[in-house]
């Protein structure tokens, strides 16, 4: 791991390595999710198991409504499963809200289809504010924000507001924001859906490169076929079950 990141990870214990793969950063085991809408119960996930290693890029493919976002939300500790276990950075995740928030704070970086940048904040401030929320303050936050923006190639756009950036540039800011604070896991929901083909390809290649360099586990949910070019593994999801993982 990059030596510069030491201040952001020093309070993390080393994962207990015995029982699991030494490089595993994220695992879900037999996860189920049922939504109740009125009297109707919709079983969206019907026993999903998946593990992601450090530096591994996993593509999650499936038709609309197959439960991709639901699974990603559960992996990102935004949603709790109806059943099943989740391990992030070697730790079992418990269901209470404060613990989930803590995992999101320390271990997860999100990238969304809609970018979800703060429109009133510049590129640099967007990243710096996320670090502030994660408990990194002052000059450390500013320096880390500048570092990750350089990594995504936006060193010369730090003072731009989102409205003055192109779609691709916005998604780069979002990637920088996800990287900031050095979480072990990056989760992206349809990150290229709003981008044209060429820009989408650039974003995916950047994503892959950074996940490798910074040693993150990366899950990209998409139905963009280009993802196959950057993924180490493509996992299909259909009717709430994973299809056989296809080695790429």
């Amino acid at each position: 791991m990059n030596a510069m990141l030491a201040p952001f990870c020093c309070d993390r214990e080393a994962p207990p390595r015995d029982a699991l793969s030494a490089r595993e950063v994220l695992a879900v085991e037999d996860v189920r999710k049922t939504f109740e809408e009125g009297s109707q119960k919709v079983e969206v996930l019907r026993g999903v198991s998946l593990a992601v290693d450090q530096g591994e890029v996993v593509a999650l493919e499936g038709p609309s409504g197959s439960g991709k976002t639901t699974l990603l939300s559960i992996m990102g500790c935004i949603l709790t499963p109806s059943a099943g276990r989740i391990r992030i950075a070697g730790r079992e995740v418990s269901g209470d809200e404060a613990a989930l928030r803590d995992v999101r704070k320390r271990s997860i970086g999100f990238v969304f289809q809609q970018y979800n940048l703060f429109p009133a904040l510049t590129a640099l401030e967007n990243v710096e504010y996320a670090l502030n929320v994660k408990g990194v303050r002052g000059r450390g936050a500013n320096a880390e924000a500048a570092r990750v923006l350089d990594l995504v190639g936006l060193g010369d756009r730090k003072r731009f507001l989102p409205r003055d950036l192109s779609g691709g540039q916005k998604q780069r800011v979002a990637i920088a924001r996800a990287l900031a604070g050095s979480p072990e896991v990056l989760l992206a929901d349809e990150p290229t859906a709003n981008l044209d083909t060429a820009v989408g390809t650039q974003i995916l290649e950047l994503f892959q490169k950074l996940a490798k360099e910074e040693n993150k586990g990366l899950v990209i949910v998409t139905h963009d076929p280009k993802v196959r070019n950057v993924a180490d593994r493509v996992v299909g999801i259909r009717d709430g079950r994973l299809s056989d993982p296809t080695e790429h």
């Binding site: 939300s73 949603l79 999101r104 704070k105 997860i108 979800n116 009133a120 904040l121 929901d189």
Partner: protein, 374 residues
């Protein structure tokens, strides 16, 4: 630290202007209205505050210094005999009719004493000598009379209750809540002018000897004057003030104005902050998704409320002070003490924070999962 609160406020500039305008309006309303009220109320007690009398003996149930009744002038002899009384004198305060050069008859409030200088009345003499009043049919007239009576000059004559007096000087700042101009004349002449005060007096002014406590001396005076009321200076000022506050409905009026000001402030601030919170729901969802708690979001709303409070107060206070010269031209005095200004500031901050809290429930319910929705 990046302040999302501040950046969002400046981003939604129009809304920020409306919020601040609402706060500034409320602050101006309260400062000017209450300031005017206090300025007006100051007139109700100006002679009590300025005279050197520590204790006032009044006739029973006298409601305020202007509305005096009378009691036998010999009562003063008993008061002089009380331990701790250094000096006690009769004083007449009486409305009398005065004839103006125009032929119009007006009312004035006559203060009659034998020894004005002993009681620091009048306290601001522009010209003339109060001790001269004993030597003839002379009066001192307050300059504030010119507003109602027209200009006067020292040496002019005025007829009071059919008796001619020469104006031998002018005073400043002596006023009555009733707006009747104040005239100073010798006690005996004032007594002689009006049948109802023959051998009688309106008040006994008492100075307490050094080392004695005014409240204790007042208690002793009460024992020897069973048909009178006895007040210390502060008690008498409070009684005079309260009379006007309560009887005129001014107090109620003030209360309603302050209430409306605060209500308008709260409604505007609560409304704009709430709309802002609703519009930024997705941003707050993002804050939660990246690990922020409800408190992080409450802090954003609180900081916005605080900024609106400080900026709104500054503008409101500046507007109030800007209005003072204008109101002064209308002979209205806006009295704003530093303590009152500080109280209004604290109230503004509380008002804005309270308004922000009305949005707390809304943002507490925000589901971070909405970050995945279009």
């Amino acid at each position: 630290m990046v302040s999302l609160a501040r950046k969002n406020l400046l981003h939604d500039r129009l809304r920020f202007v409306i919020t601040v305008a609402g706060v500034a309006f409320a602050v101006t309303l309260v400062l000017v209205q209450v300031g005017l009220f206090l300025g007006l109320l100051g007139k109700a007690t100006v002679t009590i505050e300025n005279s050197s009398a520590d204790i006032w003996v009044t006739s029973r149930e006298t409601p305020n210094v202007d509305f005096a009744h009378s009691f036998p002038e010999t009562t003063v002899l008993r008061v002089r005999g009380v331990a701790g009384v250094e000096k006690a004198d009769n004083a007449i305060v009486q409305f009398m009719n005065i004839m103006l050069p125009s032929g119009a008859e007006e009312g004035c409030l006559v203060y009659g004493l034998e020894d004005f200088s002993a009681w620091n009345l009048p306290w601001d003499v522009e010209s003339g000598d109060p001790t001269e009043l004993r030597r003839g049919d002379f009066i001192l007239m307050d300059r504030s009379a010119e507003r109602r009576f027209g200009p006067f000059q020292v040496g002019d004559y005025r007829e009071i209750l059919g008796h001619r007096f020469r104006i031998i000087g002018a005073t400043r700042g002596a006023a009555s809540f009733t707006t009747a101009p104040v005239v100073f004349m010798d006690f005996r002449r004032a007594q002689g002018l009006q049948q109802t005060v023959h051998n009688r007096t309106s008040y006994i002014l008492v100075k307490v000897a050094p080392g004695h406590d005014a409240a204790q001396v007042a208690e002793r005076i009460r024992a020897v004057t069973p048909y009178n009321d006895v007040y210390t200076r502060a008690e008498w000022a409070a009684r005079s003030r309260n009379y006007w506050v309560v009887s005129t409905g001014l107090g109620m009026n003030m209360g309603i104005t302050v209430f409306l000001g605060i209500l308008v402030g709260i409604v505007v601030v609560a409304q704009t902050l709430y709309t802002s919170a609703v519009e930024h729901v997705k941003e707050f969802g993002t804050v939660k998704a990246i690990g922020g708690s409800n408190w992080d979001i409450y802090r954003i709303l609180g900081e916005q409320a605080l900024i609106a409070a400080v900026v709104g107060y500054a503008i409101g206070a500046a507007m109030s002070f800007g209005m003072r010269p204008l109101l002064a031209q209308l002979h209205l005095n806006v009295l704003v003490s530093p303590q009152f200004a500080a109280t209004v500031f604290a109230g503004t901050v509380l008002m804005c924070l309270g308004a922000a809290m009305l949005s707390f429930k809304r943002v507490a319910g925000i589901d971070p999962a909405l970050v995945f929705r279009a």
